[in-house]
């Protein structure tokens, strides 16, 4: 597949501060890509560089093989939805959606008809005459989406568009955005710091931290095959254990908590004997029992807290000073109580190595 949107070596400095540090990214046509990362990690900055509101200090942005350098924002044909919607308060919903067409010299009658069509697509039929302040948050969101899509942009950029909505509305809008995006096939970049949102909506997730792309990949790969300690820690619940590689060829490492451990072969970074690494073990891939289980790898721990969720429970224990989190399902929950000595067990292919 060829890349439709390409960022190569994009750098952004604010004075001495590096907001983006050599970002490379390929996005395919029609793909739905999510930027996920903590606050201040450079997600918005990247969007603003793509949209042309900030100049990259270094590096290049291309759409369909054409460099965007020197192209003003209004000439880039990119639709943007902002977190606060940025609807024009002095224009009705239909006039808001008509605005990009107006700027492209579409006649008012025809433009308003197309605006009305687009409003229907986002589920706002008959709301065209309302002013933004006469619409609910979710409805304003839909108008902003319609406005960003009506001129058939090459790219759709959404910067935390659902941040201001309550949970139910959020889930509804997630489905809605996905539906519309599929229907129109528009290449989309969606920014969020909600990982479940990223997991459920994206074709691909790009994890940002401190101006770097930590990892880009399909949601399940990001979850199950984190490549850096940051990603492992940021996505989902994780146990991270420091370890030292004892035999890279035989995939063995020594951990103070887990003891001698073998790790999975998949997605391994290049390792050398004696290298300091971290071992990733997801809580749901570990089991808890009183005694060591033959055929699995085992380590001792003391049960400290049991948090019951009904269908599952989270057991937080300790080995020395290190906490260990184990998620149990169904009947497993009842056998232990707080203060018990227990054994955690796992299999070799559940252990991933990330570099430190």
């Amino acid at each position: 597949m060829t890349s439709y949107l390409t960022l190569s070596g994009v750098n952004k400095q604010y004075g001495a501060f590096t907001a983006l540090d050599h970002v490379d990214l390929d996005v395919e046509k029609g793909e739905f890509v999510t930027f996920l990362g903590p606050s201040g990690s450079g997600k918005t900055t990247t969007l603003m560089i793509i949209a042309g509101f900030e100049d990259a200090t270094d590096g290049a942005v291309e759409v369909a093989g054409q460099s965007l350098a020197g192209l003003a924002p209004q000439d880039r044909n990119i639709g943007i939805v902002f977190q606060n919607y940025a609807l024009f308060p002095h224009k009705t919903a239909a006039e808001n959606v008509y605005f990009p067409l107006q700027m492209r010299s579409v006649k008012r009658a025809e433009g308003l008809a197309r605006a009305e069509e687009m409003l229907t697509l986002v589920g706002l039929e008959g709301f065209g005459h309302r002013y933004p302040k006469e619409l609910s948050g979710g409805q304003q969101q839909r108008v902003a989406l319609a406005r960003a899509l009506v001129f058939e942009p090459d790219l759709l950029l959404l910067d935390e568009p659902l941040g201001a909505l309550d949970k139910n509305l959020r889930e509804q809008m997630q489905i809605e955005i996905k539906r519309i995006q599929r229907k129109l096939g528009v290449t989309t970049i969606f920014v969020t710091h909600d990982q479940s949102e990223a997991m459920s909506m994206s074709d691909r997730i790009v994890v940002f931290d401190k101006g770097n792309i930590q990892q880009a990949g399909r949601p399940l790969d990001i979850y199950h095959r984190p490549q850096t300690r940051f990603v492992a820690d940021f996505i989902g619940e994780t146990n991270l254990f420091d370890a030292t590689v004892t035999d890279a060829a035989a995939r063995r490492a020594q951990s103070p908590v887990l003891g001698e451990v073998s790790y999975a072969a998949e997605g391994l970074p290049a390792l050398a004997d004696g290298q300091e690494v971290a071992l990733v073990l997801r809580p749901e891939q570990m089991k808890l029992s009183r005694d060591p289980v033959p055929g699995r790898m085992n380590a001792a721990m003391t049960v400290e807290t049991i948090v019951n969720f009904g269908d599952s429970a989270l057991v937080i224990g300790r080995h020395g000073g290190t906490p260990i989190r184990v998620r149990l399902h169904g009947a497993d929950v009842v056998i232990l109580k707080e203060g018990d000595a227990a054994t955690v067990s796992w299999t070799e292919d559940a252990v991933y190595v990330v570099t430190r």
């Binding site: 509101f53 209004q74 044909n77 902002f82 024009f88 605005f99 308003l112 008959g126």
Partner: protein
């Protein structure tokens, strides 16, 4: 609302309205000078205001001066506000301070300054001189009103418009200007009223040819206490009251028209 708050409210209203209760009856008086309570009721002083050139000329002068003061103030302050609110540049805080300076200097000091300085420039006793002086006095208040509004302006609106295909000029015409229009109107109104109201500087530099209404009123009250002064005050009050009520009235009619048209054409009123 509790009783003591209501009492304070009533006091405030009485305090503000008291001069009106005196001025309006005096304007309808038969007496030869300002006198309260009026000995009898008569509309004669209204007639004499509207026929006497020695009152109409200063009124006209004041309107012309206020008009050009407003124009000049806005021409200076609008670009200056955009620059000071939105851009960083060397000497910005000094520029900010200079904009507000006339607020800190007593009018009488400014007036003496203009009197001697404009004398050299041959601007004393001319409308141009008064317009220039009034513009200086109007700048701070206009700037304060505008900059407060511009600071609260969401720049994402402009970014959104750019991304939707608008050039910077189109953004200004279609988005920034219409959204800022109410605050532009208000600040222009402030400039106009400030100039129309201004007495001290006008006393010093307006002279006979450019005599403004407040100056004429001041002269008149010192010499003869002509009840025409009360007439003018009453008229000014009425104009201000109408100006304040006008937007409400307009909004009300627009809403009524909108609901009426919505009722007749239920769908395609966009």
């Amino acid at each position: 609302m509790n009783a003591s708050l209501r009492l304070i409210g009533i006091f405030a209203i009485v305090f503000i309205a008291a001069p009106l209760l005196i001025v309006v009856p005096m304007s309808l008086s038969t007496s030869a000078s300002l006198q309260f309570p009026p000995p009898g009721l008569w509309l004669g002083y209204y007639a004499s205001y509207f026929t006497d050139m020695s009152w109409l000329r200063p009124t006209w002068n004041s309107l012309v001066i206020a008009f050009f003061t407003t124009l000049l103030t806005m021409a200076l302050v609008v670009p200056a506000t955009f620059a000071l609110v939105r851009h960083r540049f060397y000497g910005k805080s000094v520029a900010n301070l200079m904009m507000l300076m006339p607020l800190a200097v007593p009018h009488i000091v400014m007036a003496v300054g203009y009197y001697s300085y404009f004398g050299d420039l041959r601007l004393v006793f001319s409308k141009t001189g008064v317009v220039l002086a009034h513009t200086c006095l109007s700048v701070p208040i206009t700037f304060l009103v505008l900059s407060a509004n511009l600071k609260g302006f969401d720049r994402n609106l402009e970014r959104a418009a750019r991304s939707l295909g608008a050039t910077p000029r189109q953004v200004f015409v279609h988005i920034t200007l219409p959204i800022l229009r109410p605050s532009l109107t208000i600040s222009a109104l402030f400039a106009f009223i400030q100039s129309f109201d201004e007495t001290v500087v006008a006393l010093f530099i307006s002279g006979r040819d450019a005599e403004t209404l407040p100056r004429k009123m001041f002269d008149s009250i010192r010499q003869e206490a002509d009840p025409v002064i009360a007439v003018i005050s009453t008229l000014l009050f009425l104009i201000v009251a109408l100006a304040l009520l006008a937007p409400h009235a307009m909004r009300l009619t627009r809403r009524m028209l909108a609901t009426a048209s919505r009722r007749t054409t239920p769908r395609d009123q966009t």
